[in-house]
């Protein structure tokens, strides 16, 4: 049969039902303040890492909640845990602990090493 070079492109939709939210559940049990985020981006604006790399803590929060773990796993390696984000958060989210717990969850659940 003639090959026309067609291939299937993976849909870029967030497949909410297929996604794994065990990581965010693990974090929320231990750091419920993550639920208070209003996505204002103040943490990302204050972030030194975010100024030089594609790291955005605000984005991490929403990706975790949607279960987009593949993106989170890569991105959180960049965080230096300096905690400037905590100082500026208007909702009092313990942002640094979210990163810390995310790493812990990836290691515990998936044996992933940072």
């Amino acid at each position: 049969m003639e090959k026309f070079g067609f291939s299937l492109t993976k849909a870029r939709v967030i497949d909410y039902d297929a996604n794994d939210r065990s990581i965010v559940s693990y974090i929320l049990e231990r750091e419920p303040s993550l639920n208070l985020c209003i996505e204002c981006g103040c943490c990302s604006a204050a972030c030194t890492t975010g100024n030089f790399t594609g790291f955005s803590l605000r984005e991490i929060h929403i990706l975790l909640k949607r279960g987009e773990n593949d993106l989170v796993r890569q991105k959180i390696r960049k965080c230096m845990l300096c905690g400037k984000c905590i100082l500026v958060c208007p909702r009092g989210v313990n942002t640094r602990n979210v990163v810390f717990l995310a790493k812990q969850a990836f290691t515990k659940n998936e044996g992933y090493e940072f």
């Binding site: 204002c40 981006g41 103040c42 943490c43 990302s44 604006a45 204050a46 955005s56 208007p90 009092g92």
Partner: protein
């Protein structure tokens, strides 16, 4: 003898209520700590959403209180009150006491002191001003930078002192969004060549004609809107302000030079009212405004029988809502005095 109602606070709520009470046959004493009546309204230029001159509303309120049943006491600070049975005795700073049958607190609000958000540089950088400072400039018809030059790029920073755990205010002051849009339009009318940006977390346009004003700002004045809370403001080598924010809709940090930054200061319970509440055991809510007896049916009453509330001492309210709230307070007071004070 007519029942006597003591109204504390001579701003919009106090003036409207005093006028209505007098017309309902009450004898009224209106006590104001400042030397002039009118409260914050005297500091504003145009009101949203229709940009009516605030002086027009002030004139209306002055008309309301020109009544023979109203006695004015200006320049007098209320220091406390006691009540025995159904009678209230209010004491003032200069040692006077006034007796009345009911008390209406119309003590209003204080603007958030923007110096408290040090990272925004109010009181540090000369061209960082507050929304109230800008109104004062509008009134004087002198909007300019400290250098005297025209601002070419102006930023409005929403939620200064509102929705912010770090200053202890989790509530939304709800008027600042529409005020920023109104002020952005005013600035564009004065400087058509300037570029104006609003930095917002959410645009809360929940009022009659607010959304229309927002659309007008986009359509006629090309006001830009950037979704993100500014983390800090600095000054660069060219002596221009630089705001740092995440453009959350793009998902990247953004920095922008500005000539002038306007901080949209939120509303807080007035300090004097907090003191009065503590001394007289009037309950305050979590937001420190007077706690209403019921959020649906009792916003003019609190925890002391015979003490009523009107206006922005109960929550952030706009002028329209304040006037309505003052009128409903009058209904409650008349009802209280006519039905055996229960």
């Amino acid at each position: 003898m007519n029942p006597h109602v003591i109204v504390i606070g001579g701003g919009t709520a106090g003036m409207e209520a005093a006028g209505r009470l007098a017309r309902a046959g009450m004898s009224v004493t209106l006590i104001e700590k400042g030397k002039d009546l009118g409260g914050h309204l005297r500091d504003w230029y145009h009101l949203f959403p229709d940009r009516r001159s605030s002086d027009e509303v002030l004139e209306y309120l002055k008309g309301q209180i020109s009544h023979q049943n109203i006695r004015l006491l200006t320049g007098q600070q209320v220091t406390g009150f006691i009540h025995k049975g159904n009678e209230f005795t209010v004491s003032t700073g200069n040692g006077d006491t006034i007796n009345g049958d009911a008390l209406l607190l119309a003590t209003g609000f204080d603007l958030f002191k923007s110096e408290r958000k040090e990272e925004y540089g109010y009181g540090i950088y000369e061209n960082v001003i507050t929304s109230a400072d800008l109104e004062a400039m509008f009134r004087k018809k002198e909007v300019k930078l400290v250098s005297g030059k025209k601002p070419e790029r102006i930023g409005f920073l929403h939620c200064v002192g509102s929705r912010d755990e770090k200053v202890g205010n989790i509530y939304c002051s709800k008027l600042c969004c529409v005020t920023a849009v109104k002020q952005a339009i005013e600035v564009k009318k004065i400087f058509p060549a300037s570029k104006v940006f609003c930095f917002y977390m959410d645009m809360r346009m929940g009022g009659a004609l607010y959304e229309e004003l927002y659309k007008e700002a986009q359509e006629k004045y090309s006001v830009g809107f950037i979704r993100g809370k500014v983390s800090e403001v600095a000054v660069n080598i060219n002596n221009r302000l630089v705001a740092k924010v995440e453009d959350t809709l793009v998902g990247r940090p953004l920095k922008m030079e500005l000539d002038m930054l306007v901080l949209m200061a939120g509303m807080e319970m007035s300090e004097d009212a907090v003191r009065l509440a503590k001394e007289t055991n009037l309950q305050m809510g979590e937001n420190r405004f007077f706690k209403p007896a019921d959020h649906h049916f009792g916003t003019n009453m609190g925890n002391v029988n015979g003490v009523f509330y009107a206006g922005a001492c109960t929550a952030p309210l706009n002028i329209t809502e304040t006037i309505s709230h003052a009128r409903s307070a009058v209904t409650e007071i008349v009802n209280y005095l006519n039905t055996g004070r229960k």
